[in-house]
């Protein structure tokens, strides 16, 4: 039976910096503190007084790994503030770029961060250099998968990190169609490797179930990261512009990030791939549905480790969606849509790799940003992460400290948290925890 307090100063194999303090007295867990430790950069304040055209590029710097999510959420918020309707081609190319983001970002999390947990190793650096070893095969699959995501990003938006081509109203430069056939060929070729990853994460038998709700965007016509209405397992339907009316901020005094709860019952909720597959698996690409029936049958799931499997399935969906787009798209020459500057308020709600991302832009009549809010998925998942850890420690104090720390890190890792994102905040009344 473990009796002393447990501290993890720096949780590893995640994006950014976080720590954990567990207080144990008389064989019982008294307190669990999951602490987001990245220093704030106050970008939502620093963006004020800047012209709206510069905001997307600046705010994409909130995060290195999901910069494209912040870029697109900013663009969407500002387009809404300016009442700009983009063309169908712009929507399709953004979808393609977003597929590329999900392929690269999920593969980084699954294969570089989680795969060692699945193999019982410390690091991908410890995977044996043996071609017959499953870990070796999966790791080398991941290089191909990630590289393909990056290469699609480079063709469509100019880069995978801080992409220079997407802008308010469309694209500064249209992609070179002559590069599409090679991408198509690689996408088809990667499917068996992606399916091998899905099987591996399906076979990963770790389990931690929690009675929480799940929230994600839903588009009735297709599995969509960029458009839709927020829904939850318990039947809520929330239009993106009403987001703030349904969630309350909770100050977590020991964390550099706020937490969030439902405003009506103060219940907590989980975002991310698990929420999306739980709520939207019926809308996945038909090829993905056909090839993942066995794996999809376990959803809806309340096991947080199934967030890993859900991400692996989303990679396949994004591969299949990208194939469909590249097979059908004919690029027509068009310029970004421009309208006279006006004062306005715009909301941009999309699904980042880790879950629902909210941006709100307030623009004055000269086109200058006067206020800006961002709510990121890791902040919203923070309370659920802490509750999962409390449950885990309460049920497992008979294990030794090394095992407790290993499992605690793997639970946190399953959420795929991003601390760089989490230290941006919203300006509304706080509930003290």
């Amino acid at each position: 039976m473990h009796s002393g307090n447990i501290t993890i100063e720096n949780i590893t194999k995640i994006e950014g910096s976080a720590g954990l303090d567990v207080t144990i007295e008389n064989g019982k867990v008294i307190d669990v503190k999951f602490k987001i430790q990245d220093s704030r950069r106050f970008y939502t304040d620093a963006v004020k007084k800047k012209p709206l055209i510069s905001a997307p590029s600046f705010l994409s710097r909130i995060c290195g790994t999901c910069s494209v999510a912040h870029l697109f959420a900013t663009i969407k918020a500002i387009e809404n503030s300016q009442e700009i309707e983009v063309t169908e081609q712009t929507k399709t190319l953004r979808r393609l770029a977003y597929d590329a983001l999900m392929i690269r970002d999920h593969a980084l999390h699954l294969y570089f961060f989680v795969l060692p947990d699945l193999l019982g190793l410390d690091s991908i650096l410890d995977i044996p250099d043996d071609h017959d070893n499953l870990g070796h095969t999966l790791l080398h699959d991941s290089f191909d998968i990630k590289q393909l995501g990056t290469d699609i990003s480079e063709v469509v938006i100019g880069a995978a990190i801080h992409a220079p081509i997407p802008t308010i109203g469309g694209f500064l430069k249209l992609p070179d169609e002559s590069k599409f056939p090679e991408l198509l060929e690689r996408l088809e070729k990667i499917r068996p490797q992606v399916l091998r990853g899905i099987k591996a994460f399906y076979d990963y038998d770790a389990s931690l179930e929690q009675d929480v709700d799940y929230v994600a965007l839903r588009n009735e016509s297709k599995f969509d990261f960029l458009e839709g209405t927020l829904i939850s397992l318990d039947g809520r339907k929330i239009p993106p512009e009403k987001f703030l009316e349904h969630f309350d901020v909770v100050v977590v005094p020991y964390s550099q990030s706020e937490g969030y709860v439902f405003s009506d019952n103060h219940g907590n909720y989980v975002l991310g791939a698990l929420a999306r597959i739980n709520l939207n698996k019926d809308t996945l690409n038909p090829r993905t549905l056909d090839d993942t029936k066995e794996f999809l049958s376990i959803f809806p799931s309340k096991n947080i480790y199934h967030n890993n499997l859900a991400q692996a399935i989303e990679i396949l969906h994004c591969v299949d969606d990208a194939i469909e787009i590249l097979k059908n798209i004919k690029i027509v020459d068009e310029k970004p849509i421009k309208k006279p500057l006006k004062a306005g308020v715009g909301i941009g709600v999309i699904e980042a790799p880790r879950g629902t991302l909210y941006h709100k832009a307030v623009i004055d009549e000269k086109g200058v940003v006067v206020d800006y809010d961002v709510i990121v998925p890791t902040s919203q998942n923070q309370i659920a992460i802490e509750n999962d850890l409390k449950k885990y420690f309460n049920e497992n104090l008979d294990k030794n400290e090394e095992k407790l720390k290993f499992d605690a890190e793997s639970i946190i890792r399953a959420y795929d948290p991003c601390m760089s994102c989490a230290t941006n905040f919203l300006k509304i009344d706080w509930i003290r925890k």
Partner: protein, 164 residues
């Protein structure tokens, strides 16, 4: 001089105040360089990739991000003491920006919400670039870092330590 086949370049990779975009880009470079670098480099400290990290006796420390607190200042000084060479990686480490944006805030811009965080957590008055705090031997600018420059710096140290 012939290379030493048994020696590996002992490196550490550290992140401070930034978006970690250069770290992400580094993980992308592993797509093509993993097998080669695994033979040449001992990754002694790299939190995004491993739990069991050691920060002592480093040949080269790559440091991403600006320095925004006393804790970070102390930590980076310790890194400097433990490494023969320190490389500033990315724009925030090299110039402070954009992480140092708050340095330009006027008193009237600092509302109660910002002040609460500045007072309740460890923040220096100003965000600093890396060489404001420790001696820096090489800089790889860019947001994220310039890949060509990074590869040439890596190559330089692999040669300097007689690894290749």
């Amino acid at each position: 001089m012939n290379s030493d086949q048994n020696k590996k370049l002992a490196i550490g990779w550290f992140c401070f105040t930034c978006s970690e975009d250069s770290t992400i880009l580094f993980t992308e470079l592993l797509n093509k360089h993993f097998d080669e670098w695994k033979k040449l480099i001992d990754f002694k400290y790299i939190r995004p990739l491993k739990t069991k990290n050691e920060s002592e006796d480093l040949d080269v420390a790559f440091v991403e991000g600006a320095i925004s607190s006393k804790t970070q200042e102390d930590e980076v000084k310790k890194i400097r003491d433990n490494a023969k060479y320190v490389v500033a990686v990315g724009q925030c480490a090299c110039t402070g920006m954009p992480s140092a944006s708050r340095n330009a805030f006027e008193e009237k811009d600092i509302d109660d919400r910002i002040r609460w965080y500045l007072e309740h957590f460890d923040y220096n008055k100003k965000v600093q670039k890396l060489e404001d705090v420790v001696k820096v031997d090489d800089k790889i600018e860019g947001c994220p870092m310039n890949v060509t420059k990074f590869l040439s710096v890596m190559d330089k140290y692999l040669k300097l330590f007689n690894i290749i």
